[in-house]
Amino acid sequence: MGFQFQFQPVFARMDALLDGLWLTLQLAGIGILCGALLGILLAMLRGLGGRATRILVDAYVELVRNTPFLVQLLIIFFGMPSIGIRLSAEQAALSAIILNLGAYATEIVRAGIESVHRSQIEAGLSLAMTRWQVFRHVVLAPALARVWPALSSQFVLMMLSTSVCSFISVQELSAQAANVESETFRSFEVYITVTLIYLALAILLRLLLAGLGAVLFPAGSGLGRLRGQVGR
């Protein structure tokens, strides 16, 4: 085995990798933000709405959770133009990310909402709050505090899954890795480098989310004590 690792050619194309990293960050950042909001919204609708709403939301959640992200991406990217909706690869990718994360977030937040005891809701109602006010002021914050770790894990998984967007040639980090690979032929070195970048990103994101959790649900507060009581 006379193989020698050569990282210099890879480092020489760091600019390409950094471009990719920037796009990955954008996809993940916007995707997580919008996906989380979608999840909260749908979990709320499911809780407050009627039977039909519940069935629709559940169907969406089940469909997304039981099919691969890649296939969802391909349906959106190739399928939408065929019904007259033109999407750039980036737009298709972002839509797929939001729809995918939205389903997982819905499920997680729903579990959080259901963990809030009925008596809390009755206490709110008996103080003459509307159902919406009860949700907003009594249910939501404790529900989110309880599932924050589960949500955080899902966010990290989603960030890592943005790599799949390279399949439709979105020029994010993995796609740029493939570009650099075909220029340099240092396949293993390229992918080791990029893997380490992802790993660093995942660690940073976890720290960030833990920090955010500590700010939103501070230890020693009522919410801090609820943090992470429901998870998977």
Binding site: L63, I75, F78, L160, S163, S187, T195
Partner: protein, 218 residues
């Protein structure tokens, strides 16, 4: 030439599901074996072993499955193995599974009440005997629902091995789409097949989880 999406295209896609399933089963077995070792190491009394396992889990859960695939694919080639892509695919999926199953099973082992360790120590069980007769049987019951749940993740993630040329479901869909240009029909079919595979497993996982909770509560 544009072909129609006919029965034969459908059958082609359907038949490719066997590679998805084969890949899932093989990587579950291999990954399960490795994951078991990871879980044992993670709950070991030896701090370095614990750290090693924790590191392994952290890395596997901190990198995209796609990168595990490329690293396996090019890594095996570098090591001088000239193997079909299916092997690299299996290896990468097994690595992926080991990280997640290792963590799931660590949790299950640690969910067994510590008094069980104490009680079995008091009966002069050796450490392996404690595992074999007391801890693992109880941990297993706790582990089954999330393990079944993870199986769904595994099935879905095998779709990415299409990029190294394994003609499983996703790749078959791509091939047919390139020939027919009927993306909704084609990928809809692919999605439906995945759904038919995954949904029953998801339901089973939920049922098992419900039953476990009922038993623990009652």
């Amino acid at each position: 030439m544009i072909r129609q999406f006919t029965q034969s295209e459908f059958l082609f896609i359907l038949a490719s599901a066997r590679w998805t399933l084969l890949l899932t089963v093989m990587s579950m077995l291999l990954g399960g074996l490795l994951g078991f070792l990871v879980a044992l190491a993670r709950t070991s009394r030896l701090a370095p072993l614990r750290a090693l396992a924790a590191g392994w889990i952290g890395v596997i859960q901190g990198v995209p499955v796609l990168m595990l695939l490329f690293l396996s694919y090019y890594g095996l080639a570098l090591a001088g193995f000239d193997l079909p892509p299916l092997i690299a695919a299996t290896v990468s999926m097994a690595l992926y599974a080991s990280g997640f199953l290792g963590e799931i099973w660590r949790g299950s082992i640690q969910a067994v009440p510590w008094q069980q360790w104490e009680a079995s120590s008091a009966l002069a069980f050796s450490r392996p005997q404690q595992y074999r007769y007391v801890i693992l049987p109880q941990a297993m019951r706790i582990a089954i629902p999330p393990t079944v749940g993870f199986l769904v993740q595994l099935v879905k993630n095998t779709s990415i091995v299409s990029i190294i040329g394994v003609v499983e479901l996703a790749r078959a869909g791509n091939l047919v789409n390139n020939a027919t240009f009927q993306p909704f029909k084609v990928f809809g079919t692919v999605a439906a097949i995945y759904f038919v595979i995954c949904w029953p497993i998801s339901l089973l996982a939920r049922r098992l989880e419900g039953r476990l909770h009922a038993r623990r509560a009652g």
